[in-house]
Point group: C2
Chain length 106, copies 2
Amino acid sequence: MARAQAHEDVFRAIADPTRRAILDRLRAGPAPAGALASDFKQSRPAISKHLRVLREARLVSEQRAGRERVYTLDPMPLQRVAGWVEGYRSFWQVSLSNLKRYLEGK
Amino acid sequence: MARAQAHEDVFRAIADPTRRAILDRLRAGPAPAGALASDFKQSRPAISKHLRVLREARLVSEQRAGRERVYTLDPMPLQRVAGWVEGYRSFWQVSLSNLKRYLEGK
DNA sequence: CCATTGTGTAACTGATTGGTTACGTATCAC
DNA sequence: GTGATACGTAACCAATCAGTTACACAATGG
């Protein structure tokens, strides 16, 4: 089968490199859809669809300003990702010290 | 079109909830494929395929022991995720303090 | 009003995903 | 050797993805 109604899932939203790039781009400040689109070689509708996914995951918010739609970064949902990954931090520290011991030929 | 040769991409690997659950499960210690499979309601081959994806992303390693294949968590690639998300931490702190100010009716 | 600009959406497409069942193969227990 | 066990993988399938082009529509600028 396939994933459930996986909309709004942060992990899925950030799985796509283009969407991560859009978020990265928005760290410099809010931007209208067109400006974002022209930063990426893909077509404008493609970016529009990525923005929709990000919107559904609540990673960006949209303000209408005249005929523009300005997108603003909302990083809050990323806390869920940060929280999940955090649970592994201690493990990769162990991994590192294991590697060190191994390299030291111990 | 579609993603490039997106194998080995950590972000893609952790996009699936079942795969995240497998990783979570492996934090308790290494486990053979069969044991993992019986923890998840999906069929054994389905889990086997998830394990393959995790393997390609180098999030787990496989040791053969007799007829078993024991999987061990390797969290190192998660550092890339942690690093990426880290770049947003300051932003969500801003988001929080904005919210606070807003709630305080300021 | 009319043309232009900025944008979302519909319709379509090929690739990929995540699942299944059926099969192949190596190891263990006898 | 034989049968059971623990796997991975092939073949297949429906659903979803990420893109495209064509279209609709609201706001601006004359």
